[in-house]
Every structure is written in structure tokens, then in C-alpha cells.
């Protein structure tokens, strides 16, 4: 099982580096989008999968990050600073939102964060002096690092991939630390976690703020990738989609967001034939999945592998029994 995981991981790594060389520009754009959305979904997975809180605000944080990065770079600020600013600002807003919102749990939180997303959308749309309203911001430049410009799609993809790798390693490290283990304890058994002296509220808040900041960082990548941002891109739909990505991939699995974002980016392209019926099919698939396997694709894979392993253990015993007869 472990060897299988390593093999699959290696294949995915080789593929993610080699694939863009075989793709047309639009294909490269798609996998760049995958990398960007994965960052946002990893953030949401912290909140949902590890701390067990349903948030519908991740799309809004991506929006805040995207607008921060776009406005700062257009004002002449270097991209690295704009990128960090997007992360810090969304961390702060996530903390401020989480403070009152985490008084309520689960579905209440879902609606409070939904309200937040709508508020952010209204602000982006109505505050024209800052955001240019419904016309959005055009011609966002891709950054250059010394002599290496990311203006070309291929270069920008590797820039996104590199950022994804760095951020996911950081998240991995955090989840392995005592700190991250406290997150999991929150989800599994909040009462026990509290009785062990873990300040549950503080840790949930921290998970929420870090998750939000990953959303902001993803937004800072989204702006130069699409090079055009408008309020509609960050309305409720994006938050729903990010939530569904985490669920489809498998919430609480480290690689869940990677798989979920891949499905969400590729499925519409594969289902071009179905055209507008695509969303109907997608929604139906999710409902079926929730009814039969709420732990997502990775959960399904784990279940199948376990079943296969059990059969593998049984078969020799059965053979021995037959031989004895």
C-alpha cells in the first residue's frame, strides 16, 4: 500500500512537470488553474477537513487576494510584496471573521461565511473608486524574477507549480507538528481535545485564518494567471466550487484537494459534449457520492485498497484449506 502510494506520487510528480511540454497554451492555462485552485482548496481543507468547519468564504478570500495583488502590482509594488500582502491581509480578515463566526458551528458557520462572501462581492462591485466595479481590472502583468520572466504560459505554469509545492510542503510540515495534530484532535473529538488542555477555540481560529490566507495567496496567483479580474468571478459560485473540490477529493486527506481540483478543472473540458448539462451531471455525481461515499475519491480508493488487501490475505488461507481437503 505504501509502495503504491509512493509510485503514484512519483508518477503524479513526473506528469506535472512533463505534461505542459506536450500541451497547447490552453492546456497549460488549465493546469496552471489547477495549481492555483489547489492552493485555495488546501486552505479550505485545513478549515473543513482538519478543523471540521464548513466555510463558504474561501472564494471571497481568493477574491480579496486577487484584488490586493492586482491593485498593488498596478501601483508599482513588486509582485513578491503584493503576494505576501495578499496572504497577510486575508490572514487578518480570516482571523477577524473567525472570531465571531466560530462562536457558531457547522451549518451556522456555513451561512455566516456565505453572508461574508456576499458582502465581499457587494463591496467589490460597488466600491468603484477602488475596484473599478463591474468592469473589473484588466491587463494584470505577470511577474518577472530577475532575468526570468513568467509572461509565457509555460514559465508561469512552473511558477504556479513551484508555489504550490512550497505551500503544500509548508502545510505538510505544519500538520505534522504538535500544532497540526491539535487541529485533527479538534475534528475527531473536541471535548477530549479540550480536556487535554488544547485551547480549542484558538486552534480552530488559527486553522481558519491560515486556511483563509492560503485562499488569499491563491488569489494573488489567480490575478496574473487570468490577467483580468471582476467581482463575478469571486461570487458564491467559486466558494461552492472550492468546497465541492475538497469534498470530491476527500476532505481531511492531504492529497484530497489536489485530486478534487483536478476533477473540477478537467471534468468541464472532458464533458464539452454535454455542454450546459455539465453542471447537472456534476451536481448529480456529487449527491450520489455523498450518499455512498462521503469521504470522497481518496476515501473510496482507500476503501477499495483495503478490500483488495483483505481479499489478498484471505486467498492463500483459502488455498491452504482447499489443499488440506
Amino acid at each position: 500500500m505504501n509502495r503504491l502510494a509512493v509510485a503514484m506520487f512519483a508518477m503524479a510528480a513526473i506528469f506535472s512537470v512533463a505534461a505542459p511540454f506536450m500541451l497547447k497554451p490552453f492546456g497549460i492555462y488549465l493546469i496552471s488553474m489547477w495549481a492555483v485552485l489547489t492552493v485555495a482548496a488546501i486552505g479550505l481543507n485545513l478549515t473543513l477537513g482538519y478543523a471540521g468547519q464548513v466555510s463558504l468564504a474561501q472564494g471571497a478570500f481568493v477574491g480579496i487576494g486577487a484584488y490586493t495583488a492586482a491593485l498593488l502590482t498596478q501601483a508599482g509594488c513588486p509582485f513578491v510584496l503584493a503576494f505576501l500582502a495578499a496572504g497577510l491581509l486575508t490572514f487578518a480578515i480570516g482571523w477577524l471573521l473567525g472570531y465571531p463566526a466560530l462562536r457558531v458551528q457547522h451549518h451556522y458557520l456555513a451561512f455566516v461565511t456565505l453572508a461574508f462572501t456576499t458582502l465581499v462581492f457587494l463591496l467589490l462591485r460597488n466600491e468603484q473608486w477602488l475596484t473599478n466595479g463591474i468592469y473589473g481590472i484588466n491587463g494584470i502583468a505577470r511577474p518577472a524574477f530577475f532575468a526570468w520572466s513568467t509572461a509565457k504560459p509555460l514559465n508561469f505554469y512552473f511558477f504556479c507549480l513551484g508555489t504550490l509545492v512550497v505551500l503544500s510542503l509548508a502545510t505538510w510540515w505544519m500538520l505534522r507538528s504538535p500544532w497540526g495534530r491539535a487541529f485533527v484532535a479538534l475534528r475527531e473529538n473536541p471535548t477530549r481535545a479540550a480536556s487535554l488542555g488544547i485551547d480549542t477555540r484558538r486552534y480552530t481560529l488559527m486553522a481558519f485564518a491560515i486556511g483563509s490566507s492560503l485562499g488569499g495567496l491563491a488569489g494573488a496567483l489567480y490575478a496574473p494567471l487570468v490577467q483580468f479580474i471582476e467581482p463575478g468571478s469571486f461570487a458564491l459560485n467559486l466558494s461552492f466550487n472550492l468546497l465541492l473540490m475538497v469534498i470530491v477529493g476527500g476532505s481531511g486527506y492531504f492529497f484530497g484537494p489536489f485530486v478534487g481540483a483536478l476533477v473540477a478543472v478537467l471534468l468541464p473540458e472532458w464533458m464539452r459534449v454535454a455542454e450546459s448539462y455539465y453542471l447537472i451531471v456534476y451536481a448529480t455525481l456529487i449527491m450520489v457520492m455523498m450518499a455512498f461515499c462521503p469521504s470522497g475519491l481518496l476515501g473510496l480508493m482507500e476503501r477499495l485498497l483495503q478490500a483488495a488487501a483483505r481479499r489478498g490475505q484471505l486467498t492463500p488461507a483459502l488455498h491452504a484449506k482447499k489443499a488440506a481437503q
Binding site: 465571531p100 462562536r103 453572508a115 456576499t118 450546459s276 453542471l279 451536481a283 455523498m290 462521503p294
Partner: protein, 291 residues
Amino acid sequence: MASLIQLLVSGLATGAIYALIAVGFTLLWQTSQTINFAQGEFVMLPAFFVLATMNLGAPLWFAALVGIAVSVIVLGLLFKFIVVDPMLRYGVLPLVISTIALSILLKESVKDFYSSQAQPFPALVPPTDIHILGAVVSTQSLAVLGVAIITVAMLHVLLNKTRLGRSMQATAQNPALARILGISVQRMVLYTFLINAALVAIASILISPIYLAKFTNGETLGMTAFVAAIIGGFNQVRGAILGGVLLGVLDNLSAAYLSSQYRAAFPLLILIAVILFRPQGLLGRIEERTV
């Protein structure tokens, strides 16, 4: 003053519709811990059942009855057996996700199979204006208010004055004890789903003449219903009514006197304030469940 009366009446009318939606929402929550994220789409859909029936040549009153009946079957019966029941054993979260998916499914289905354009929807009464104290009040607002009040009154009688209603209350308050007393808990839960479906269908018929029937209608309606339920107290039918009416009036007043651009923001700000300062809602009690 005259315009204030006008705004109050139309606010009360929309508020009464919000209240119907919010009441259904809280009923589902109380008896089966179902948070229906698709509640807004549940209100959007029945209008299209009615329109489809009218396209076959039926008069409005008959189409409305067919619409309510189809809603009770699709949004009550089928919703419970196909979507909610298989999911309940996993807890609240998968059901939340599933109803989110359901809301997308309903929205897209209407868009693809009926129309993506806003459809005109016939009013219940011919729209004329009545002059009261110098204010112009439309008969439509009064009709909406009347139907909503009758619906709520009937629901009140059902829940509080009949044996069935008392059994439903018992189910909400303590399912285990209700079962011991010989109440079929499963059947009571099913009844609340049917009642919710009827309530959203009525709300749909009332609101569609005002907003036109469009596949995106559910987005704001579902949110408003939830905000109304929270403001009033999630565990109280009375609370949901109060919350709905309050929101309708505030919505109209704020759009007129404060800012129409941020009209949609006021309910959300109220929601955040209520959650901060009075999480159990205006009429709610902490950790108690009553119908």
C-alpha cells in the same frame, strides 16, 4: 408619510413571504436536523411547475393547485426519500454538501429545460391601486399578505390544536419519548417535509408575480430565509415569522432611505450582529427545541 405607509405595506408583504420560507426551514431543522441549503431553489421551482401547467392551457387557480401538488411530491416526498434519508446516518455535513449540490442541480435544470430568461408570472388578483390615507397600496401586496396570514394561521391551528400537530411537536422535542408514547416518528418527520414543500410552493406562487420567475431567484431567497430563521431564533416557528417580517420591512425601508446598492447587505449585517450578540435569536431559547 404616504410613501412610508406604501413601503411598510409592500415590506410586510415580502416579509410575509420570507416568513413562510423561514418557517419551513425551521420545521425541517427541528424534526430531522436537516439544513436545507436548497430552500431558495425550492421556492424558485414551483413557479415553473405552475407555468408548465398553464402552458398546457390550464387556468391559474388549477395550475397553482397542480404546482403545489407536484411540489409536495417532488420537494417533499422525493426529497426526503432520495436525498435526505440515505444521508442522515453520516451526520449533518454530507447533507449540507448534498443540498448545496441539489441547489445547483435544480437551478441548472430549470435553466436548461425551461428557460434562462425571466418569465412573467400572472398575479393572483388584478393589479389595481387602492388609496388609503393618501398612500397608494397595490391590491397585490394585500392579497399576498392575506394568503400568507391564512397559511400561517392554518399551520398554527394544525401544530397546536390538533392531535397530529401535537404529535409533531413531541417528535421535535424528544423523539425517543415520542416513540415510547406510540407516535410514529418517521411519519411525523415525513409530514414536516410535506408541509415544508407546500409552504415553499405557496411562497413561490406569491413571490413570482413580483420578482418574475427566474432560475436564479433562489440564491437570495434561501439566504434571506436562513437569516430570518436565525434572527428570530432557529428553534421557534414564531421566531421565523418575526424574522421574516422584520427582514421584509427593513429591506424595503433600507432600499428607499439608505442605499439601494447595498440593499442586499443589510440582512447580512443584521445576521452577523445577531450571531454576535444574541446567538439564540430574538425569540429563541438556548439548547431547547420546540415547534
